[in-house]
């Protein structure tokens, strides 16, 4: 995703964020609203909080903006609050405290009708276990969102048929969900969400119930859809490689808190704390780190010659180019040479010894094992 030129350009756009979240809390339990309000309670750990109040804080003081056109990944292990968080965005789960806006409009202040309007037209969701209606055909499932908006039968079927085709299920319109494989069912779920033409698509671990191969197909489907339509997406996953593959930016959650928010490269290149570091330790860095980070200043003769790469190319791509030509590769942005990457630079990235921008030097006792091995 990070190599995609179109996403780079929208990333730099300055615009009202699609979702703007600040200080968001979700606490389950008796008299939940007192927890965010009381700084002492808010500071307690999960176990202490349960002991003291009988409450569980699923989301604690989370804030972020989702920009127009980006794929925003919320990532964390099970119980980190990521699924709750994505449900709070359309108030499928009611947040306890904080502010939440879509296109600048306060979501928490919406009345029922306005909220329905939001769910019908502005945000559609794809679910982990698909959430299809078993008594309806594929076509009628896809048309369901239009049906509840009051779209006439002929029109909604026609529109739904187009989306069934778009997700590659032509010829299966009259089947029922039980007659489909898991991957096909999720395609139906995707088509149902797309059919209402929402401003933003929300995904709640949509592919974790699928086989690895099917999962990869579906991930590519999402990448393709995003490239074609440029629709804003919020994508929840517990799978780091999925997050890195799809996300323009990743919000890493732990125990209800937002631990780090950044591009895949920032997350892998400069983990905010030991938790994130442990998390990304096994990530193949060359797949994530870009040549913009890895390059060094070019000498005069180097700017003239050698394979050219865009600044967002990954180190893995640079390695291929360098290995093919045997000479350092130039990092070119709109005809200007920003720098070069050579064998030495690329190997450092693979070995994990490069000092990227903002990357803190690992402290003596906490060096990642990889580092030791490489040295």
């Amino acid at each position: 995703m990070s190599t995609d030129a179109s996403s780079t350009s929208v990333r730099t756009e300055v615009d009202t964020p699609v979702f703007s979240v600040a200080g968001l809390w979700k606490v389950f339990g008796p008299k939940a609203e007192r927890v965010p309000a009381d700084p002492e309670l808010a500071a307690l750990s999960a176990a202490e909080l349960r002991e003291r109040t009988g409450c569980t804080a699923a989301i604690r003081d989370v804030g972020f903006d989702v920009r127009k056109g980006e794929v925003f990944v919320i990532m964390g292990l099970s119980g980190s609050g990521k699924s709750t968080l994505v449900r709070c965005l359309t108030r499928l789960i009611e947040p306890t405290a904080g502010t939440l806006a879509i296109d600048g409009e306060d979501v928490r202040a919406m009345d029922k009708a306005r909220l329905r309007e939001l769910r019908r037209h502005r945000a559609a969701m794809v679910f982990q276990h698909f959430g299809l209606l078993p008594h309806r055909t594929v076509l009628d499932n896809v048309a369901y969102g239009l049906e509840i908006q009051g779209v006439g039968r002929a029109e909604r079927r026609e529109r739904a048929a187009a989306f069934v085709a778009k997700v590659g299920l032509e010829g299966m319109e009259q089947r029922r969900p039980a007659q489909l494989s898991g991957g096909q069912r999720q395609r139906v779920g995707l088509a149902r969400a797309l059919a209402v033409d929402p401003e933003v698509l929300l995904f709640d671990e949509p592919f974790s119930a699928l086989d690895p191969l099917i999962r990869r197909d579906m991930q590519e489907e999402v990448v393709r859809l995003h490239r074609e339509e440029g629709r804003t997406m919020v994508f929840v996953t517990h799978d780091l490689s999925e997050a890195l593959k799809l996300g323009d930016r990743i919000a890493l959650m732990r125990d209800g808190r937002l631990v780090q928010l950044g591009t895949p490269e920032e997350i892998v290149g400069s983990p905010a704390d030991d938790y994130v570091r442990a998390f990304v330790r096994d990530v193949p860095r060359e797949q994530v780190v870009t040549v913009r980070t890895a390059m060094r200043a070019a000498s005069a003769e180097e700017t003239a010659d050698g394979p050219a790469l865009p600044p967002d190319a990954t180190v893995a791509e640079a390695i291929e180019a360098v290995a093919r030509t045997g000479s350092p590769a130039r990092v070119m942005d709109e005809g200007r040479c920003l720098g070069v990457v050579d064998h030495d630079r690329l190997l450092r990235v693979v070995a994990g010894t490069e000092q990227g921008p903002g990357r803190r030097a690992p402290e003596a006792g906490q060096r990642p094992e990889r580092h030791d091995k490489a040295a």
Binding site: A124, F127, G131, L133, H135, Y144, V196
Partner: protein, 648 residues
């Protein structure tokens, strides 16, 4: 929960000595201490024989006054004039209307309509079976009573389904209603059908309205329960997905929750129909008419042949209704409208054709009178099998011996026991299996029978129940274990059990009267036969559903099949076994009470007597005692407050 239990046990173990390590022993000891203090007091105050007279409340006088008042004011008081009167008239009119429609359609029209209905909902095989069943009703000369029963059933089922669906919707959509309604519905399921008869007679008098209302009250709970269950058990993620698309609450109900609950709704319909049939037959005692009435009259004069001629249509109706509605639940959805229109068209055509031919009624010459040959066979049996068969003895001998050696001693023993010790035993049993709440309910319910002044007849009924339950459990658990271990036996048993479980309680009385005559032993025998299938099925299912991994690990350690059964299957299937006991007890009680019709005596007889003599006070007191007994027996055997469907 398990961790909690362990910690409490552990902390207690630290404080208390050896015996009390065990929770059960602890409960018993506590109970023993309470008894040691209370019993001398109670003894000194009221003595230790049967239930003390000082503790009874004579309800018969006020009840008789109430009953007299209702009879006097039935035609004048506004409550009856403007409420019950209208209800009753509406029921009479609807039953009458349905009956006239059935008659107007003629035998051919009804048979064809039933066949086509079965064909549309359940396929060809069941359509043929349905047609054959209706023709058999005609052949047995029971066409008119069958139509009477059917008319009553149609009205009662429609009302039950409407009532049940409304209650179920309310309970399915609102947590508060569900919490309020569930214990009521659960409890209603354990009451024997007989208990419902008297109150409706008190209000409506004997007749069709009373029969319909008793049927509705009896048959609506399963519909309500299953509707609520279906709405509540809907796939949470589907509902969330539907909500995420911006549905209104109404759209969610109509497009998602109700369609998702289709299976449960149809299962509810199935159970409601089966229970309505069961009750419609029993309600002949209060003027329901139809097939049940024929059986009732025949049994009253021990005319087994006539009873059988009316009983067979009931059985056929039950099996056909069960299979057709059951199959409707299995199939994905009803077919197109064209098929239904076609079916309706054919029905009308056939009905008109037969009418034009001038033979709308079942032709008298086409009947096969089976009453006389059956009675001859019964007479032969009476002569040859009743008594004095070499070595094995006769059926009457068995019945007599069962009465003398089992029923009499148990009854004498129970009635000899001091009243407080009965309560103590009830408390101990209920507490050991359940919680202190169930124990308290059980003790209060048992005490209530004493307070009502029917301590002795209650114990008489209880003795029959205990004897029947003991036999049922021995036979049922053994058969269930065997069926769980042998696929072949299970395949053999399954269709038989299926049929037996669908039959109305009433028809079980016919064969036992043929075999054993009248008395307490036949009532017990009918109860055993009625409860046996449920016990077998629950036991076999429970054993088969034991975690295969646990069984496999036992096998891998080299356990013999006996060891597997004793050490793995039976302990792990404990909840199912307790459920089997609970169901066995509830079902046995229902039939033991009905046994009052064939000389079972005790509470059931009081109800019948009250109805026959117009002495509603006696009947009502007996009915209340039956309810208490049912409550007590259910709570004593209730493991976790979990309640199954009746006859499931």
């Amino acid at each position: 929960m398990a961790a909690l239990t362990t910690t409490t046990t552990a902390s207690r173990a630290a404080v208390l000595p050896g015996v009390l390590r065990n929770r059960s022993a602890g409960k018993l000891l506590l109970l023993a201490v309470a008894a040691a203090i209370l019993v001398p007091l109670l003894n000194a105050r009221w003595g230790s024989g049967s239930w003390p007279h000082a503790l009874t409340v004579d309800l018969s006088a006020p009840l008789a006054r109430t009953s007299d008042w209702i009879i006097d004011n039935r035609d004048s008081h506004p409550l009856f004039l403007y409420f019950f009167g209208h209800l009753s008239n509406a029921v009479v009119l609807s039953v009458r209307a349905v009956y006239l429609v059935l008659l107007a359609a003629g035998w051919a029209g009804v048979t064809v309509a039933a066949g086509l209905l079965a064909w549309r909902t359940a396929g060809m095989r069941l359509a043929l079976a349905t047609t054959a069943a209706f023709l058999a009703c005609g052949l047995l000369g029971m066409w008119v009573p069958t139509m009477q029963t059917l008319a009553l059933m149609v009205v009662a089922v429609l009302a039950s389904v409407a009532l049940g669906a409304v209650l179920g919707l309310a309970a399915g959509l609102s947590d508060r209603t569900y919490r309020a309604l569930r214990p009521v519905l659960d409890t209603m399921q354990v009451f024997p059908a007989f208990a419902y008869l008297l109150p409706v007679v008190l209000v409506f008098g004997i007749g069709v309205p009373a029969a319909v209302f008793a049927t509705v009250v009896y048959a609506a709970p399963p519909m309500a329960r299953l509707t609520a269950l279906g709405l509540r058990d809907a796939d949470k993620e589907v509902l969330e997905a539907v909500e995420s698309l911006g549905t209104t609450a109404r759209q969610r109900l109509l497009t998602a929750r109700l369609p998702l609950a289709r299976r449960e709704l149809l299962l509810g319909l199935n159970q409601t129909i089966m229970m309505a049939l069961s009750m419609a037959v029993i309600a002949s005692v209060i003027g329901g008419g139809g097939l049940g009435d024929r059986v009732y009259q025949a049994l009253a004069s021990v005319d087994v042949g006539a009873a059988l001629a009316a009983g067979i249509p009931i059985v056929l109706l039950a099996v056909v209704l069960d299979r057709v509605t059951g199959a409707a639940g299995e199939r994905p959805g009803p077919g197109g409208r064209a098929g239904w229109a076609y079916a309706a068209g054919v029905t009308v055509a056939v009905a008109l054709a037969v009418r034009l031919l001038g033979r709308p009624d079942w032709p008298a010459s086409w009947t096969v009178p089976i009453a006389a040959p059956v009675n001859r066979a019964v007479d032969w049996m009476t002569a040859h099998l009743y008594t004095g068969v070499p070595y094995v003895g006769g059926t009457a001998d068995w019945a007599a011996r069962f009465t003398t050696w089992v029923l009499d001693p148990v009854r004498a023993g129970l009635q000899w026991l001091p009243w407080w010790s009965v309560l103590l035993v009830v408390a101990a049993l209920a507490w050991l299996i359940g919680t202190w709440r169930t124990a308290l309910t059980a003790v209060l319910a048992m005490a209530a029978t004493g307070v009502l002044g029917v301590w002795k007849p209650s114990l008489d009924t209880l003795s029959q129940v205990l004897a029947a339950v003991a036999v049922t459990l021995v036979l049922g658990l053994a058969t269930g274990i065997a069926a769980a271990r042998s696929d072949r036996l299970e395949r053999l048993l399954r269709p038989v059990l299926d049929v037996f479980q669908t039959l109305p309680q009433f028809v079980y009385l016919i064969p036992v009267v043929a075999l054993f005559g009248v008395g307490r032993a036949p009532a017990v025998a009918a109860a055993i036969v009625y409860a046996f299938p449920a016990v077998v099925r629950i036991t076999a299912q429970g054993l088969r559903q034991v975690d295969p991994a646990a069984l496999e690990s036992a096998r891998s350690l080299g356990a013999t099949s006996g060891q597997q059964l004793r050490q793995v299957q039976l302990p792990l299937a404990r909840p199912a076994l307790l459920l089997a006991v609970n169901q066995g007890v509830v079902l046995v009680l229902a039939v033991v009470i009905i046994g009052g019709l064939v000389g079972g005596g005790a509470l059931g007889y009081d109800v019948v007597f009250g109805l026959a003599q117009g002495d509603l006070a006696t009947g009502l007191v007996a009915g209340a005692a039956i309810v208490c007994l049912g409550l007590m027996l259910d709570r004593v055997t209730q493991p976790t407050g979990h309640h199954p469907k009746k006859g499931a």
